[in-house]
Amino acid sequence: MTPCPRPILLPLLLAIGACTERITAPGACPDFCPRDSIRLEDVILDSIIVRDSAYAGYLQGYQGEALAVADLPGVDSRAIFLMNRFTEVMPDSGDTTRGPGIVDSSWVRVHIARRDTNTANLRLKLYRLPITIDSTTTFDSVAAEFGAPPLDSLNVDSLLARPDVVDSLTVATWGDTIRTDGAGHVLQFSPADSTLILYFRLDTLQAPFSVADSGKLAFGVRVAADSLASIALGANERLDGATMRRFYHYTKMIDSTTDSTVSTSLLRGATFDNFVFDPPTPALDAGAVDSTLVVGGVPAVRSLVRVRIPAFLRDTTDVVRATLLLVPAGPVPGAAGDSFTVVVRPVVTDIGPKSPLSGSAGRATVHIGSADTVRIEVTDVIRAWARDTTAATAFVLGQIPEAASYTQIRFYSSRATARRPTVHVTYVRRFPFGGGTP
């Protein structure tokens, strides 16, 4: 007879059941809860920002990730770029035989990285510029070239209104559907997002091949619109700068008596791109440094802000939220409807304006034309500083993307007693363990 298993199973099952523990129950307060509760406090610390100052010259416009192009009341900004050299002797890919090439036409490609969708009748105008443009080129030094008739212009709204060209040959050639107008301009949506890629088609008069210039060409772009004429073009720093494809042909000798004509193309990128604007960014004079914290513009300006963490935050509390409050000295000039980001980046070690920076600890969007207080959540960094007494308690205010726009914001500094930067801190008091619940 098989022995009954129950004497074995009972304690076994009970023991297995005991291996899990559940001791937390919904609280029936106040009678059946601990006498002490978690207490929250909220305070605006108006004197913890100290020794703050602005510093200029971090990035130049040609180092920016975008090129601001605008034609607005109060600001006129234009993109300029220099295309790479184009060799006189055209290589025949895969063949050692070479021959003189004849340029037939060119495409100039630009990428609109940002635009206001409320802009009406947006037009881009392409200008020919001298190939001597470089980092010293100013708005005035190319004003004459931009004053001349444009090489070409296209209407973005018109292109957007056109139907997609969806035939298989077009898709095979362009890699996607396109929209085109009667002048041969092409619009494509970026495969990575919904931004716009535009192609100007230029003939040999508009984009001639000059041996003396090694085939280099320089262009400029202006923008026009019925309203809100402001865009950002992609730049080399984001691997998104302007490019130029030149279509050419040459004669290839098949043997000593027979030849054939080969048609092909070569792509060239920009070796330099920048944007010039008027009026220029106001100088960062002593008065501005003393009274304000400046962020943005070109050359890029950053502000170094030092924080004195109060002892009570270190000893008795747990910060659950900290918000940096910055009061602008005035509305930010620029295109209505536009915006940019102000970012807080803690320093790794405080050695002044060249302090190495860690990653972003908080950011806020600043809207053009607004003078509202800018609020940046800095909870993580304040929590870290409250716990680590060895940390350098300073951060840098910067703009994102930096040196990509003429826009600049100025906040009141700690010297402005009434409107100085403050930090709004919400914290939990240290729980009185061992007191009310011995």
Binding site: L14, A25, P26, G27, A28, F32, T437, P438
Partner: protein, 369 residues
């Protein structure tokens, strides 16, 4: 029999294989605002009789005098698991915990004197409370969830000596060292992700001393009386080496009577008073009683018991009450050198608008090598 022993050993291993803090778990919501929930100080045999046999049981760390009857080295261990349902204002919560409430090792050092050591649970201090609320922060209502947990206990380390000073009288004394710790955590989470979770953790160490004395008097061959008194000093709570609080501990006394009604039947009753009133706000003096019996042979008895009384901590002017029924079985093996005891207890506690229903399974092993 061998199979039952194996199963029991396996159960003991499983029950004790968990981290120690899980083995000193909570017992009641009534202890949250007070010092905790007092431990039973009862072996499985005593627990199965509602606690009535505790004053007469050498392996219940309540009295020392019964140790005088231990004639050879012996050890007893008690394990328990509780399933508890808490009902407050119609809302129920089911809780579960395991514990290691008692260990007694005893042996004679002379013909008359027996010494013993071991520990029991003095105060269970494990609990967890979860609350939800909406509070106004920065002018906005924000939902918050607070969880306050305590995990630990105060153990009663006992060194006892007992002697039979007369054929009818045994006496005993003990020194009690109270020690233990709790790990506490207070966590607040916010519904709004802009707010970070706040977590505070602390460990509190507890300490105290006590002394007890007891006596057993055999009025007749079948009738035995027991009496005991115990006084503990103060319980100090230290946080990071600093004394955070000091709390008076109670003076307690009690007694019992046991009647052997034949060769295979024993009944007993016990009462106890404890003066908890000085242990902080909403603390109450308690009186508890128990009645139980054991029938059957010594090798495999059946036990039944009933208990009632009060809990020392609870809101309002009246102490919460508890009432319980218990039953159990015992099995002797290896010629009396080993003993397994099983018990099941059902408790109901009421007071202050809250009620608790508890099922507790206890398992005991006694070895006399």
């Amino acid at each position: 029999m061998n199979r039952a022993v194996g199963a029991t050993v396996l159960a003991v291993v499983l029950l004790t294989a968990s981290p120690p803090h899980r083995l000193t778990a909570q017992d009641s919501q009534y202890g949250i605002q007070g010092l905790g929930t007092p431990g039973r100080g009862e072996s499985v045999r005593a627990r199965s009789t509602g606690g009535a046999f505790a004053p007469f049981d050498a392996f219940s760390p309540l009295l020392e005098a019964p140790l005088a009857d231990v004639r050879r080295l012996a050890a007893g261990v008690t394990l328990g698991t509780s399933w508890r349902t808490v009902d407050v204002a119609g809302t129920e919560a089911s809780l579960r915990a395991s514990r290691f409430p008692a260990l007694v090792i005893a042996g004679p050092i002379t013909r008359r004197i027996v010494i013993a050591g071991g520990f029991g649970t003095y105060l269970d201090k494990s609990f967890g409370v979860l609350t939800h609320d909406t509070i106004d922060i920065r002018g906005q209502p924000v939902g918050v969830t607070d969880e306050i947990t305590s995990d630990g206990a105060v153990a009663d380390l006992r060194f006892a000596a007992a002697a039979r000073v007369h054929s009818r009288l045994a006496v005993g004394v003990a020194l009690h060292g109270l020690t233990g710790s709790t790990r506490l955590a207070a966590v607040r989470t916010f519904d709004d992700s802009l707010y970070r979770t706040s977590t505070a953790r602390e460990e509190i160490a507890y300490g105290g001393l006590g002394g007890s004395a007891s006596a057993l008097l055999d009025v007749t061959r079948d009738l035995r009386l027991a009496g005991w008194v115990r006084s503990d000093t103060k319980l100090t709570a230290d946080v990071r080496g600093r004394t955070a609080s000091t709390t008076d501990l109670p003076v307690a006394f009690g007694g019992g009577v046991r009647w052997r009604a034949g060769t295979e039947a024993v009944v007993a009753g016990a009462v106890a008073w404890r003066r908890w009133r000085g242990a902080g706000p909403d603390s109450h003096d308690t009186f508890s009683w128990s009645l139980g019996g054991e029938v059957g042979s010594v090798e495999s008895p059946l036990r039944l018991g009933v208990r009632g009384g009060q809990l020392p901590f609870g809101p309002g002017g009246r102490a919460p009450t508890e009432f319980g029924l218990a039953a159990g079985l015992g099995k002797q093996f290896s010629g009396g050198r080993g003993r397994l005891d099983f018990g099941l207890e059902r408790l109901e506690r009421k007071g202050g608008g809250l009620s608790e229903r508890v099922w507790t399974f206890v398992l005991g092993l006694t070895v006399r090598p």
